[in-house]
């Protein structure tokens, strides 16, 4: 920026500052209040529980479905009604390496903690994904 441009920019900063703010005319507030007295009182808009908590609800439902599916797969597999679906889940599960966090931390963890840990990671993942969907930048 050369000196001439700096002068021009200074001129803008100098004469467009809060010191040069135009004040509202006399009687501005009473005029508004006269109009407001004719208005109905504003009502607090409360969002429905479902709408307000849509993201965590979807996350929890997805995780619960996964956990229930996991429990059912490892349990009784003789029920023909869910056999196809559970068989598919089992195939997916068996194709993935068995998580063994106890060897990672050198301590013996109860197996349920493994699933809790995976569930937490999945929750975080879904929360981030849903946040991006519902709070996408305009």
């Amino acid at each position: 920026m050369n000196k001439h441009e700096e002068y021009k920019d200074d001129l803008l900063s100098q004469y467009m500052s809060p010191d040069y703010t135009e004040s509202a005319p006399e009687g501005f507030t009473p005029k508004i209040m006269n109009r407001i007295r004719l208005e109905k009182a504003p009502v607090v808009v409360t969002e429905k529980f479902l709408k307000r908590n849509l993201v965590p609800i979807i996350s929890v439902v997805v995780i619960l479905v996964l956990i229930i599916a996991e429990i059912l797969v490892s349990g009784n597999e003789s029920d023909p009604a869910v056999l196809t679906f559970l068989g598919l889940l089992k195939n997916i599960r068996s194709s993935m390496p068995e998580p063994d966090l106890s060897s990672l931390f050198k301590i013996s963890l109860p197996s349920v903690l493994t699933y809790v840990f995976i569930g937490m990671l999945a929750l975080v993942f879904f929360d981030r994904a849903l946040y991006r969907i519902f709070h996408r930048e305009k």
């Binding site: 021009k8 803008l12 004469y15 467009m16 004040s23 509202a24 209040m33 208005e39 504003p42 305009k138």
Partner: protein, 191 residues
């Protein structure tokens, strides 16, 4: 009386004490009026637009999220109300001839030559401001007069932060060119 913060008065208005809205108006009226005036360039219209904006804010007060900034929320209402108004009612564009040619033109109304020079430059900047587009005028006002950050301007106007920066840069360049042209005209006028 000490101002107890926007949220305090908003909660009181929402609990049925509508008169408490006057504290909010008193606190924000100048900034709201200034924003409307800088965009539309007319005192009467600016007053009307600022009043309409406060009224809209009052009606929508129930949907205001207490975690966000009230002034930014109000600015968004003023900005949108004023921009919509000036877009509907396009006014005549000023020509360079409309601008007084010299600081000496201001001496009659100013006690000293220095003050006349200040008044001249201030008018030059105001003149340049009226020559740019409504949207640019809004951005320049929020940036310079209201001293909002580009993040806040993006929130008020709904334009992305990067776009705000680009538009501000262009608006500044335009204003600088207008000021330069007006000053050249002044020199030519004296020659």
């Amino acid at each position: 009386m000490d101002y107890k913060g926007d949220i305090y008065y908003i909660e009181r208005v929402l609990s049925g004490k509508s008169n408490c809205f006057s504290y909010i108006v008193e606190k924000h009226k100048d900034r709201a009026y200034n924003l409307a005036f800088r965009i539309c360039g007319n005192h009467e219209e600016a007053e009307e637009l600022a009043q309409d904006s406060f009224l809209k804010a009052y009606r929508s007060l129930g949907s205001f999220k207490m975690k966000s900034s009230f002034s930014t929320w109000l600015f968004r209402i003023v900005y949108n109300t004023t921009i919509s108004h000036v877009r509907i009612k396009k006014k005549g564009v000023l020509s360079l001839e409309d601008f007084p040619a010299d600081a000496t033109d201001f001496i009659g109304s100013s006690p000293s030559e220095d003050e006349a020079e200040i008044e001249y430059r201030s008018s030059l900047v105001s003149f340049a401001l009226q020559k740019i587009t409504d949207e640019e005028r809004g951005l320049i006002t929020l940036f310079y007069y209201e001293e909002l950050s580009t993040d806040e301007i993006a929130e008020v106007t709904g334009i992305s932060k990067s776009n705000v920066k680009v538009k501000l840069f262009r608006a500044r360049q335009k204003m600088q060119m207008i000021i330069e042209k007006a000053e050249k005209e002044k020199i030519a006028y004296h020659e």
